[in-house]
Subunit: 286 residues, 6 copies
Amino acid sequence: MYFHDPRLQYPVRVETPDPLFARQLQQAIGGIEGEIRVCLQYFFQAWGARGPNPKYRDMLLHTATEEIGHIEMLATAVAMNLETAPLSLQESAAEAHPVVNAVMGGERPRHVLEGMLQRHILSTGLAAMPVDADGVPFDCSHVYASGNLAADMYANVTAESTGRVLAVRLFNAAKDPGMRDMLSFLIARDTMHQQQWLAVIEELGGNAALPIPNSFDRSQEASRFSHVFFAHNHEGVPPAQGRWTAGPSLDGQGEFTVAQSTPMGEKPVLGPAQPLSGAQAEQIKG
Amino acid sequence: MYFHDPRLQYPVRVETPDPLFARQLQQAIGGIEGEIRVCLQYFFQAWGARGPNPKYRDMLLHTATEEIGHIEMLATAVAMNLETAPLSLQESAAEAHPVVNAVMGGERPRHVLEGMLQRHILSTGLAAMPVDADGVPFDCSHVYASGNLAADMYANVTAESTGRVLAVRLFNAAKDPGMRDMLSFLIARDTMHQQQWLAVIEELGGNAALPIPNSFDRSQEASRFSHVFFAHNHEGVPPAQGRWTAGPSLDGQGEFTVAQSTPMGEKPVLGPAQPLSGAQAEQIKG
Amino acid sequence: MYFHDPRLQYPVRVETPDPLFARQLQQAIGGIEGEIRVCLQYFFQAWGARGPNPKYRDMLLHTATEEIGHIEMLATAVAMNLETAPLSLQESAAEAHPVVNAVMGGERPRHVLEGMLQRHILSTGLAAMPVDADGVPFDCSHVYASGNLAADMYANVTAESTGRVLAVRLFNAAKDPGMRDMLSFLIARDTMHQQQWLAVIEELGGNAALPIPNSFDRSQEASRFSHVFFAHNHEGVPPAQGRWTAGPSLDGQGEFTVAQSTPMGEKPVLGPAQPLSGAQAEQIKG
Amino acid sequence: MYFHDPRLQYPVRVETPDPLFARQLQQAIGGIEGEIRVCLQYFFQAWGARGPNPKYRDMLLHTATEEIGHIEMLATAVAMNLETAPLSLQESAAEAHPVVNAVMGGERPRHVLEGMLQRHILSTGLAAMPVDADGVPFDCSHVYASGNLAADMYANVTAESTGRVLAVRLFNAAKDPGMRDMLSFLIARDTMHQQQWLAVIEELGGNAALPIPNSFDRSQEASRFSHVFFAHNHEGVPPAQGRWTAGPSLDGQGEFTVAQSTPMGEKPVLGPAQPLSGAQAEQIKG
Amino acid sequence: MYFHDPRLQYPVRVETPDPLFARQLQQAIGGIEGEIRVCLQYFFQAWGARGPNPKYRDMLLHTATEEIGHIEMLATAVAMNLETAPLSLQESAAEAHPVVNAVMGGERPRHVLEGMLQRHILSTGLAAMPVDADGVPFDCSHVYASGNLAADMYANVTAESTGRVLAVRLFNAAKDPGMRDMLSFLIARDTMHQQQWLAVIEELGGNAALPIPNSFDRSQEASRFSHVFFAHNHEGVPPAQGRWTAGPSLDGQGEFTVAQSTPMGEKPVLGPAQPLSGAQAEQIKG
Amino acid sequence: MYFHDPRLQYPVRVETPDPLFARQLQQAIGGIEGEIRVCLQYFFQAWGARGPNPKYRDMLLHTATEEIGHIEMLATAVAMNLETAPLSLQESAAEAHPVVNAVMGGERPRHVLEGMLQRHILSTGLAAMPVDADGVPFDCSHVYASGNLAADMYANVTAESTGRVLAVRLFNAAKDPGMRDMLSFLIARDTMHQQQWLAVIEELGGNAALPIPNSFDRSQEASRFSHVFFAHNHEGVPPAQGRWTAGPSLDGQGEFTVAQSTPMGEKPVLGPAQPLSGAQAEQIKG
């Protein structure tokens, strides 16, 4: 079960509210690289964790709980960046929003409004929503919790890598010092979390534990295809060389090779349509 | 640009069609762990690839192109597993489907029908759809192409890891020898592809290239938070030990530590609602 | 069954077309607070209405039918606001759109275009769509029809409350007198509809009929938890007082109290992963 | 910021695991009436709360934090109900699942499997997901946080009313005593939360504070339409009487009346298609 | 604006309620081939209709209004088919549902329940929802209203063709005589509506008015590619002959030909990643 | 199975990158009228094709394969149009983007940024995504593959008609000569493909093969309703005349007529709510 402290994990300050930056911050809340995703992903992985060692569940719960606080910080930052947003298409709005005019470098309210998520005005009264920077709601299909510990750790590395890429882009886009400070903290946490999940993979054996899942009896695998890079180009020119085209395979069980892919199967022939299946008569066998 | 050969990459045979297995196979087509996802993901990563070395784009195109053929194999397998599916709720359907009765171990057509995706009958005339095993359409937000090569490679490892977990589960669920053979091939290809993307990460420096993105000036990061595991439990009991709680950090730039998380920020106070913002009067400053 | 009159329920006039306001109006069509939602919600509640008294079904049908006309008015308003929208990114478009230049206060066509939903140009030929103000299509999961009359009435109050909040925000944003007139009508109808659904709740007994559903045998409820406000803060400071922390409960069956929440359950322990479940070997019991 | 305790808020016990009940419980996790929804809804309302009185934000945070623990309980219950689920379509699976055969009253594994969410097997390794009982992922557009306190409270009453209706249906469907005990707790909490949000509305003035939002200048409303029930039936038969057709209006500012709705507007005429708008030539003015 | 008559357009009778058929009927309500789609599609086409001839708008409104009544009929049919559905997983439910046992041919309630949409029980209290036969909500992105009259007519033919295919499949699946009678009516209406939209295309010139849109200046089209069927097979074997490989083109402006497709463009080279774009350092030009 | 050539099917050149045009091009990639849709639609139709004549499967594969190359061209065009996009909200960005200032006619970077899809910066590092012009991801429910050849061909005509309408709108919006050239090619291909699918319908008999599906025994259709245009207007004024109101029906089996629609059914009466169904007590029969 869970508890809160009304204070934020790290300070959130905005000197110069910018509604367009509020929009960009939404990506870190409701985007697929965002904090709702990692929060729910770590929770569902923890709640479904199976296996004799409870420490992974334990670790996941700590970090999932931390991530709620990151959503909270970002939602607060969005609301603060919207504080002086224009609400009206009227020319006279200029007078109604002296702060906007002062702080946004002389932008006309209409221009500020054009760049905003309209739902920040129309649906929230100037607050954050669980949507991305273009207004698409977060969809929980992005919560990866496969029941395989190693696959889940890679999913988490992905989430924290795309998450840190996003945080860096937001840092680069921001000009407000308070926002830059908040993002420097979130970037640091993503740095830690990337390594945290990779550390689990190291504990699990790293590449030596490949392929994932390692519980499948590999004698049932068509292993002659397990270490070959298939070239699929029309002209048959050999593909560029890389670590994946030669040398020992990462799972330590073979050598990488390259082959031009060719059909091993036949042209498929499906049965005719059934008489009551709603096909055209021409599709039904006479 | 692209070309096709009407033959399949690998043989697809079904001895005993099973509409419930057709449903399960849909996960490998339109599920988030499925082949549409990897196909489009590798294509979009290739088409947007930036950087001086074209070999990554080249590699991505080869494998993306291979994946189209995997969707094709699975779609063919779904259609074959639906060949003898019942179409009717009528009792008399039993007579109309002698094959079903013979091959499905005496199941009544109604029971077979209950376990099916209804849209296999109603929307496709007994063929595959780009949906998952519970009927949810594939949504292209799952196509991860971040513009950061390392983050994308981890996304690909995730896709192939969850993909191989899925293929193994399907193999374990299947009883048809043709289906098991097809899956043994797909499992092998996932084995290769997991290693292929990890090989790129090895080329990029592996853990030494952390954190992702490595183009951010780390002097701007709040680095005192970059290697600490924050405990977020109510009682303050120290968390379980792991590779992530002590020892050198994976990026080689620090030591992992543990700390109980405490608020560094304040309780946030947002401004009052604006008079024209549609709030209740009580929310607007007097 | 249904009939139409080709005339509108209330006049729709636009003196100064504004493509950005067309975008904002979309929220009232395809947003979750919009008219498609209430229309379908009242219809599905009516079509599934069970119970001896047919008057609720009757009432729902009247109002659902009215709401089609509101979608029609708003769709007409969107098309009218798009009449003079720019279609091109070319500089020369300025000459091609003298009306734009005249009526939009000298905005350059490119700026007008930047604030638009691009699909108004690309997908509709300058007409309304069933999407919200940021372009997200309406999703019918928002049609609440629970089969419980009281729960549905509260869902309807919610819809009309958020609907009137939205209409007020649009009124405040609008500067066109025709649009303000149309919105003053829609605001009035929302005023009526809020009260209409609350009047049903009054007929059903108001708070006296709580909790919803009132058909559950309350002796089976863990009623010691039915009137207590659980504090979930870390430090255990008593929460702020309110009507919900003391005094008689609204259902007339107890007294509100406050308690600090503490765990009554244990740390959960799930069984190990099954051998064929695709987990890592480490998760499977030895 | 947030903290966790590894123990559950209330005990979760399952004596007889039932994968079909696991599926049904998903509705209380990822359904629109479920716990993810209320949890995120209360959090976003709190994080965006504006107004001089901080106690509403405070209250929302307490209850939002409680709701995380409810998701946790339900996710645990799903995993426990899936413990003995069949993984295979093979006949021989019967032997592999003696527990299933014993506890499910002699059901054949195939029949048990037919009723399951297939993704419980294929995507999670027998654990909960953030999807509803038919497999549709939770979509955060259902997080209602309008910025208007009264509208939000009604949204919360709706959520807790449909939530308790759902919990009662699950209780009625369940046969496991542990599941019934857990649900009796969740039903009680929904009882409290229904009243909690209604208590806020009482503090805000109840019906006297209508219409929502109460910050709109009603002289700008077309108030002759604010208390009239419009009949929209073809034949013009007067509608059934109710509290909403006569007597004082709930906002205390008028009398309810009934009127047959008739067109006040004209048949709309849109301008012709623009020459470069991609219409057929016949739609463009000559 | 709109009116209703409380009676149905055509009788809806169910002699033997079947919850699995209720599920199948959902496809005709909330599926992409269903009635919500055509209803909203015709309405949005009408409300956005531009052009000198108002008769198309007029026709669309008549038929859109008819379609509301079709949703109503189907929603009624779903509710009637759910009348005797089991609500419980308990064995004792058998006694509680004597009707089920009698009418469903001796099915055990659990088996009936396994084939149902679980949300019919959990979310609606045994009534229709705007979802498809596998529980996926209708998404209004399927409302095609392009602003081009001819394109829209083809979209309507598609909707009525897939709609009649669906209705035929439902007719073939049904065994209840009341349901078959209702479907025979809906099939007939789809027959009419297919022809109705094709009749508009005939009025617009049929194939002679191709290509759509016919308002584009064809001198700006790369017309050497306008009548050639490109073969895209790897081996270069000539494709099968058809009406589209030889003979006069349907637009009367050329001859169909066949050509093997070959690259006319170059291998694309994108610029390097920008320094502040969040790429890996390796992707940024030195 | 499939192969690629690293060269593009047709040249893609951009002289003056424009991030707003990049946004508009997204509609042709991930919009419902776009190339991902037709590509997957033709593939799924091919992979599920049933019937004695394999030439339709063959044709579909050729064109589906061509369409991959069209997505590739458009994705390349998007990336090229984003080459010089601003990444920052800072004033100083102006200096950092001399090219922008030069080529965009003196636009300030902030204005350019306001019109962009924010995810082009935040999620992709300036590359294409499978989303539409307003940022909504492509959803594979738009892949129409009904199992009925004629219905599918009409779906394809629709896709190519709305696709060419879109391409024409993009051509009209574009000012870059390279983009206009690329679009002139895509417009030509849509011209061909419209005719290709109509040619199949001609082979299948054209209108003579109506109604779709033609495999349904028409003696089971309520054929008295198969050729009548139902007027659904309130006042009963006869509808406007058209090809669909009189004359021989297109299926050659009747005469079009017009009739005012009137109720043939009764007011529906559903059974009362079941005692355990979670309804209010008032809805349950005493």
